[in-house]
Symmetry: C2
Subunit: 194 residues, 2 copies
């Protein structure tokens, strides 16, 4: 594993491996936002998810919203070109938060969705409840429990950092599980395309 920071695209990430085996599904999970967009790429084969790359796209607070959205759009586009995901899984917006925050996140989410659509990648969305169920087996699991399950499922020594990247890996794992077995997840079977 190595860490890198790409100044050009403002993208900090950890590369685990970059080899895609035969019959492997590559999934890009996204935890949307404007200041920080978490991303997690996994290889999934025969129901076993393996981490490929994860990290965050950070945009500085002092620049115009339009520039931040452009940077997110460009960076996600760059991730797609580099890792060629078969699917993108994005977290649905959680509506119990502050409305101003929700509206900002929605802007960033649209920039991500547009990048996926420009490359013709199938996109799926999952609620926090679906993600918790798929990763920790329990819809009311705590954030810490979900993080720990991400670590275990991906056979990692440490919980991946930062949190937004771990969240994105959880979303990717969630999609892998829904794709493999729509029936094995309690209350599952609903896989929404964006």
């Amino acid at each position: 594993m190595f860490s890198c920071y790409n100044k050009v695209i403002g993208l900090y990430s950890n590369l685990i491996n970059n080899v895609k085996g035969f019959g492997t599904l590559v999934i890009l999970g996204i935890d949307p936002g404007v200041a920080t967009v978490g991303f997690g790429i996994i290889n999934e084969k025969d129901g076993v998810p393996k981490p490929k790359r994860y990290g965050v796209i950070s945009t500085p607070a002092g620049i115009r919203l339009a520039l931040r959205l452009k940077q997110i759009n460009d960076d996600v586009s760059q991730l797609i070109k580099t890792f060629k995901p078969d699917a993108i899984a994005v977290e649905e917006l959680f509506f119990n938060t502050n409305q101003k925050t929700a509206v900002m996140v929605a802007h960033g989410r649209a920039a991500v969705i547009l990048a996926g659509e420009e490359h013709g990648i199938p996109m799926f969305e999952y609620t926090p409840l679906q993600i918790k169920k798929a990763v920790a087996g329990y819809g009311r699991a705590t954030k810490k429990q979900v993080m720990e399950m991400v670590r275990r499922l991906l056979l990692m020594e440490q919980i991946p950092k930062p949190d937004d990247a771990a969240d994105a890996l959880a979303i990717a794992i969630c999609h892998a599980r829904y794709t493999n077995s729509l029936l094995n997840i309690e209350g599952g079977g609903v896989c929404s395309t964006i």
Copy 2:
């Protein structure tokens, strides 16, 4: 004036004139959304706004969100290429509405902003209060009063239709007024760039 409906880009609009005189500022006003994006293009010279084109971009409800955002992004891009605006003015999100609606509008707004940024057009945002003050001279003006003032200011025989297009023209007029005189508007002087 003639009306046209472009099936390719799902764009309904009314063309008033397509001539840009010397020293004229072309402003594209946008009333953001996902199902309907209102747009209004005006020529402004020596403080006098003239309507150039207005209409709505409509996206069908039955298609994926990603496709709708792509269509909005493409259509706004097409408007920019055709009318070469010097500035884009977009309504700020009004936070007292339903949160689900606000989040959807934010997605559409981001698609508009990204199109503007891709073409390097300066973008500005105005609150509903600023728009009402600039157009009707009164922050608590009714929607009907604002529409009527749009008609009068643009020397049109009828109030422009549909409403989203009239709203977009009001936003364009608002930007023209702020640009010409930051001090003449009560409570004005705040011109936020996006």
